[in-house]
Symmetry: C2
Subunit: 412 residues, 2 copies
């Protein structure tokens, strides 16, 4: 048999990314399609509609994850699962998450159109709320499916308007009354997620495919610097306890001590709040976030453990407290998965490289549930979560081809 | 005649500071009595009430400035004017502004009780809205009185609830229907303002009285650093344009270049806002304020003119813009006023020093209208605009005694 990947309809695949982007389309060309919103609902309807005539089973579960099943010869075999998510950040783009779902859809559609039946079933999933922007934290659907979190905990979570996840899941179920609601944690043969890189490495290295080796570890902290309000016109420096002066000093020293020449460490202060934050008053308090990531757990521990002391050493005459909020260990996808995906890519003569994922994905939770791997394609300037998120059609097609070979081979 | 200052009723003076602090009293022992508020209205009623039986003329003007007049032998002579303001910051204390008004009230009350009539009239003023917290900018009443600003411009200004100065002045006028509304810009013989230092110098130097030589100059700037949003987990440093990293670098270099060893320069970044200000996104924008003050105009110009270049030199890979908002030149009170107040203080055997004012005051505008001087008393730790604002009773009495001698001598 020739490559399964040659059955892909490139234009249909590309066109559907643009079509789906109409659900939640923003004025600046971006997408705002937050989890369980009406835009999410309409996008789901849109996808289901595409598959109507193809006799592909669609079902859901108690977390409003959405599944599409291409039946296999062995109906009782656990399915090969692929997919990602279709929810977006408030200022999202057309590809983050969507690509993984539409690539999977294209594959099962192409197989069905060509009357090709895999040994094991192939399923495509759109996980509920990967982004965590409307309901925090994210990766809810995959978290509940894999038993990492309980549906009860998730149901209670509210958005800024006080609307619960529970009521929005009910709305989603009643909007699709014909879909069977299956149980969580059904056996999966393996899970492959295709996604845009959300980073610049593939573009810089001019590779069309990234074989993801794992997801880097993350530690987050909240730093609170406390000084004293004073009149800016009258207080000499000698009597001041300016929390912003101390915070700037701390941040400079964190940069100097945490950053590496190799540029592997990710160290970011994304949020910083000053009190009382008026031009005429010496700041009495500064609170800032730290997001520290590294693929090597040993280095992640070493760097993260330095933070508190660096803050203390550079806080005078203010005081400082450091609180760790999250410690997610790095994970490595099984070498067997990585090398197999790599070999399928090589057979297609596509330029590839191995790389770790900087961002978290639903694959994080699936990793602890079944053999899991990921495929990256480049995105322009490494930008995602932005209206300017952009990919090349040929890269999107290449990623779908690699996914098709991978899914097909694991299913047979 | 013995010292006029010996007629001051120390306990009454002290007690009234506590009484007035009930209007706008906050839970933490501070005062929130913003301009033209109900608290301001009640405080005005309270003061007027004290003077009712003493046949002291009370009047107002189109800006709701409030005047108390002790008639002189020469009714046609321009009055010696003293006073300050009774409005406070939202988190103010008991003494900022209030001291100058209550000291003046005590003086004319003591003179009247003792049937002592000055040659020229002595008037006490409570200027409307010195603080500028509810309606910005401040020093409104003195600005309009001296012709620095027009009443039409001020009338249009709104508070956060959309209420105009105009409507609140009307409310104030209708609440005191018996007060004559006099014109702005009536001739003044001279203006003396007593105030707490709002700085630590007198306390550090252990002096009871500060003879204010002038008000330092001020330049304010708005700095805008623009970078690019990015994913904190995926973007290496080499591709980032992190606005907070650049802002921190700029601020460090501003500190290094603007601060002086002598600790005379006042350089403060009081307000800093990060966008989008979430832990997981590389900051795309930082906007911060600069408040730069110096008593020497030459140095003020030199330092202020450096800022833009320092910002440019340290902003890479982000871009930066610098906008100057205010340039108030330093002013020196006439040496004749300073040395006379100094000599009256010396006659009372009170420890004194000359010093410039770090803060702005209504005296800034009066300076350009009539001979003007100021008297400072120490405040605890130099703290003002705070519930912990505190002065010693003996210092408050000493300040009032010096003001009494000064006002009396200028009026005779």
């Amino acid at each position: 048999m020739k490559h399964i990947s040659s059955l892909i309809n490139n234009n249909r695949l590309w066109q559907r990314h643009n079509e789906l982007a109409n659900h939640g389309k923003t004025e600046n060309g971006g997408v705002n399609r937050q989890a369980l919103s009406n835009e999410d609902l309409h996008a789901r309807k849109h996808i289901i509609n595409w598959l109507k005539k193809l006799n592909i089973e669609v079902y859901t579960d108690g977390a409003a994850n959405l599944f599409f099943r291409l039946e296999g010869i062995n109906k009782n075999s656990p399915p090969v699962l692929t997919g990602s998510h279709i929810d977006s950040q408030p200022s999202g783009g057309k590809y983050d998450g969507v690509f993984g779902v539409l690539a999977g859809i294209e594959i099962i559609e192409a197989l069905r159109e060509n009357n090709i039946v895999p040994k094991s079933p192939i399923e495509v999933v759109a996980w509920m709320n990967e982004e965590g922007s409307r309901f925090a934290p994210g990766m809810m659907g995959s978290g509940v499916y894999t038993g990492t979190r309980s549906i009860e905990d998730i149901n209670r979570i509210k958005d800024d308007n006080g609307i619960t996840v529970s009521s929005e899941i009910k709305k989603m179920h009643s909007s699709f009354p014909n879909l069977e609601i299956k149980e969580f944690g059904r056996e999966i043969k393996c899970y492959i997620e295709a996604h845009i890189e959300q980073g610049p490495v593939l573009e810089l290295e001019q590779k069309q495919i990234g074989i993801v080796t794992g997801i880097q570890g993350k530690r987050t902290f909240k730093i609170e610097v406390t000084g004293e309000e004073n009149h800016v016109g009258t207080s000499p420096r000698i009597v001041r306890r300016d929390a912003l002066v101390s915070a700037v000093n701390i941040i400079e020293n964190l940069h100097n001590n945490i950053w590496d020449n190799e540029d592997v460490t990710r160290f970011t202060i994304g949020k910083l709040i000053v009190e009382p934050n008026v031009p005429s008053v010496v700041p009495s308090k500064v609170v800032f976030s730290i997001d520290l990531r590294h693929p090597d757990e040993k280095i992640l521990i070493e760097l993260g453990d330095k933070i508190s002391q660096i803050c203390l050493d550079n806080s005078k005459p203010c005081t400082v407290t450091t609180k760790e909020l999250v410690h997610d260990k790095p994970l490595k996808f099984p070498e067997k998965m990585v090398s197999k995906i790599e070999s399928f890519t090589k057979k297609l003569n596509i330029d590839l490289m191995r790389l770790p994922s900087g961002a978290g994905h639903d694959a994080r939770y699936l990793h602890y549930f079944c053999p899991t791997g990921m495929i990256f394609i480049p995105c322009k300037n490494g930008i995602s979560h932005s209206p300017s998120e952009s990919v090349k059609k040929e890269d999107l097609v290449a990623g779908t081809q690699v996914l098709a070979e991978t899914v097909w081979n694991f299913a047979n």
